[in-house]
Symmetry: C2
Subunit: 179 residues, 2 copies
């Protein structure tokens, strides 16, 4: 398939910004309740100055134990991880931590909806890719350490960028999981 | 009703520790996938020293925009906030932020399961209390700024402390939401 054209462009917005904007739109219109989880941080030291807010002065980033986004849509539990890559031909597994794989696997076992939203930043293309397909690649073969873009194009779903909501991924969710 | 006895005692465990232990138990036995969200932090400054991990040197606690726990159980979206109070006669509204009220309201509108787990630490008693009852108290009257313990005893559900899992709240969820 040829590269879909991109009328709106990224305009310097990251995938996370686009998704936050979109989830805000979904919440305010009553379509879904989906939030990004806070970045996990290991807090080591906090100062409590008088008359001002507690200040964290030493902390470190922790590996997330789950994916970044979850919530409820059409009565179903929904869960996804969003990743950008500068790679132009494939999506490297290294982008997803072992705990996140395990988490997606758990969600599928419990009949939740789980997927990835993958943006190829240099190509300006974003795809929704089902978690079970991703886990098949990861656990089902040993030759490759990445998923070919070609497969993501064929078995995933292109998400066009729009003005508002920026990245209307629930339209794709309707198509894949509710029809 | 009289105070239920507490065979196992708190043994210095906070409600959060008890819930983390319990959720870990639920995940490892395949019963449910429920996680605590990370504490939301506004990161202001990060040092990137050579040859060691990025160090956050200035950050502040942010108000959470959702409740602290969510996940999937028996195919349903489940969401709750956990709070400890040292109050002996009532649960003050001030323990729950406006955003969290709004979030619980949203979840109920989308047919999710939402509740509070409230521990009266000095009484060593823990209760599950449905979010709709909580929101009724909060929005339905103006006289009180708290929910009487008596009401929580009558309309909530006492959760006994056990050895493992520490606080088996899904037994109560079965009773209230699945029977
Ligand atoms: Mg992430
Ligand atoms: Mg909290």
């Amino acid at each position: 398939t040829s590269s879909p054209s991109n009328l709106f462009g990224n305009r310097g917005m990251t995938l996370e910004q686009d998704l936050n904007d979109t989830n805000q739109y979904y919440r305010s219109t009553g379509k879904a309740v989906i939030h990004k989880k806070p970045t996990p941080v290991q807090i080591v030291h906090v100062d409590y100055p008088k008359r001002s807010a507690a200040k964290i002065t030493e902390a470190y980033f922790k590996q997330p134990s789950t994916t970044d986004y979850n919530g409820i849509y059409r009565g179903s539990y929904i869960d996804f991880e969003a990743k950008e890559t500068r790679n132009k031909t494939s999506f490297p597994f290294g982008n997803i931590h072992a705990h996140q794989m395990e988490h997606m696997h758990d969600i599928l076992r419990h009949d939740g909806i789980a997927f990835l939203i993958i943006r190829f930043t240099l190509l300006e293309q974003t795809y929704l890719y089902d978690a079970s397909l991703f886990l098949d690649w990861y656990f089902g073969q040993k030759e490759r350490k990445s998923i070919p873009l070609q497969d993501i194009r064929e078995n995933g779903h292109y998400i066009p960028l729009q003005y508002s909501p920026r990245i209307n991924y629930l339209d794709i969710v309707d198509l894949i999981y509710f029809s």
